[in-house]
Symmetry: C2
Subunit: 329 residues, 2 copies
Amino acid sequence: MGARRVTAVDVARRAGVAVSTVSYILNDAPGQTFTPATKDRVHAAVRELGYVPSAAARALRQGRSHNVLMLLPDMGIGEALAHVVDRLSDAMDQHGYSVVFRRSRAGRSATALVAELAPAAVVALARLTPDEVAGLESAGVPLVQDVGGRDGITDREVLQADIGRAQAQHLLDLGHRRLVYGAPDDERLEPLARNRVAGVLATTRQAGLPDPDVVPVPLDADAAADVVRAWLDASEPPTAVCAYNDLVALAVLAGAARHGVACPADLAVVGVDDVVAARLSVPPLTTVDFHPDELTAELTEVLLDRLLARPAEPRTSWTGVELVRRGST
Amino acid sequence: MGARRVTAVDVARRAGVAVSTVSYILNDAPGQTFTPATKDRVHAAVRELGYVPSAAARALRQGRSHNVLMLLPDMGIGEALAHVVDRLSDAMDQHGYSVVFRRSRAGRSATALVAELAPAAVVALARLTPDEVAGLESAGVPLVQDVGGRDGITDREVLQADIGRAQAQHLLDLGHRRLVYGAPDDERLEPLARNRVAGVLATTRQAGLPDPDVVPVPLDADAAADVVRAWLDASEPPTAVCAYNDLVALAVLAGAARHGVACPADLAVVGVDDVVAARLSVPPLTTVDFHPDELTAELTEVLLDRLLARPAEPRTSWTGVELVRRGST
DNA sequence: CTGAAAGCGCTTACAG
DNA sequence: CTGAAAGCGCTTACAG
């Protein structure tokens, strides 16, 4: 109830030192040295009292909290993104930081959020406006852009295009010449899809092929069956589909099954993400794994470089996009 | 760079009032009244200056931050849990709260986290020790237990058992008498699985049937095929499986397909979660949807009741566990 | 090597 | 209805 909070003053009193000493020792402040005996007394007092520094007081004093603000795009969180958020949280947690994520939405600019939360850094998986970027800059808050860009991490658009390229190249290598793109049926995904499509087009054009049609595929077996039917009824039916992601690919598979279309014999399908369900479909799904875990590891390192003011080494955890061939191609 | 932060003092100066007036007006403090003209001047100044109150200063002063600490079980975040986290964050965000989540792990007790973050409330989706619960109590921090318990929300164990019951009952209604339980191959999921199994057993026992075997099913088509093979080779092969979740169910489907076992004719399968992929498998998966969205809505309301000191009305968004019958049974 | 003191930006009794 | 002031719990020059 009224159990007063244990403060640094309490620790100091118990250890028989000044509060400043407690603070210096707990943060092992550079340029300050203390006898082992003093340190021990302080640490012992901390333990006995169960002292935990107040994040609020620290943040207020330093003008910077230990929060990392993660700005997410305004779209549903898929399996891959959930893992990124999850792993980054865990990793930063190890270093004493809390990850606070926010979906970017009209009304609360990144600038306002930064003023409110005074984050130690911002990780933007969503696109920021130039004003927002400038605002962060002038506030001196380290910004790591959308798993990408000028940070030694792979640029987002490049990454997405790589994915599309890998899909199309695989299909072309297999001898397919008539491709179609299975786009998401959710317009909020359009920005991402656009870049993936760009990779596909770059590849097919280079091979001298006409641009594949881009058609939305609903995540529903019946609706997907209609889409597949329309493809089959075309004058020159596609023989392979690049799907926006594994879920779309699974929908295509389901739609094809409805019409007895053999996969991959009559229609080959490649997804993206290597979701768990991709290994479990019939046939198992060929997919592009862009190694979100590695990307997250890299993101974490870059973030810590900035946060701990470590020399920014080139980070190269990411091994690139990988085509995982299974039964659907 | 050194652009000094805009504070309440700046706003007060600009509006020609005292800082206390600014604070009172911005928080519309009860029992304080101001002329519309004064309010307007303050709001105008806020807007012109782009003033955003410092979360750290507020938290320090009030001894309580606007963070909601969400404690997650030490397991991978599945599709359902990701949605819960996601939606809760969004909802609380609307009310000015940030959700900070932490995986429960040895070394950092909830008590220490609370001392550090001074959260406005704690949502525990992981089990807390009695000591931790007592600590929260004495610190006066509202605790909402694991989407469950004494809060007008469904108790977690009851919910899990309901899921198992719904699966088993459905299969029994269909005439199946030899069931088997497809357990997760990840021991961190065991606590959850245990309660689901309990629901299944309660149902089969009531029907006078022997307890179904509980066998782990790896999320891999080959390995799952081996499991299915073992079932078929048994002296009295099961005719239906209750899977821990949709992914396990999908693995069973994949395993069955490997051996040409017809589903549902030779082996019926029920999952849990109604994951997107469940609608897209061949055959589409029968599953139990426990409506995590409704549960989250309820969780949010209960949380806000506590946070805003609203009278705790009975919350009844949750419509219970629902069996969604599709092609796999 | 240690200690007293200022100040981060708020909110909230309290006096006018 | 408005204003001056204390204090939340830290960190960090600064003086000893």
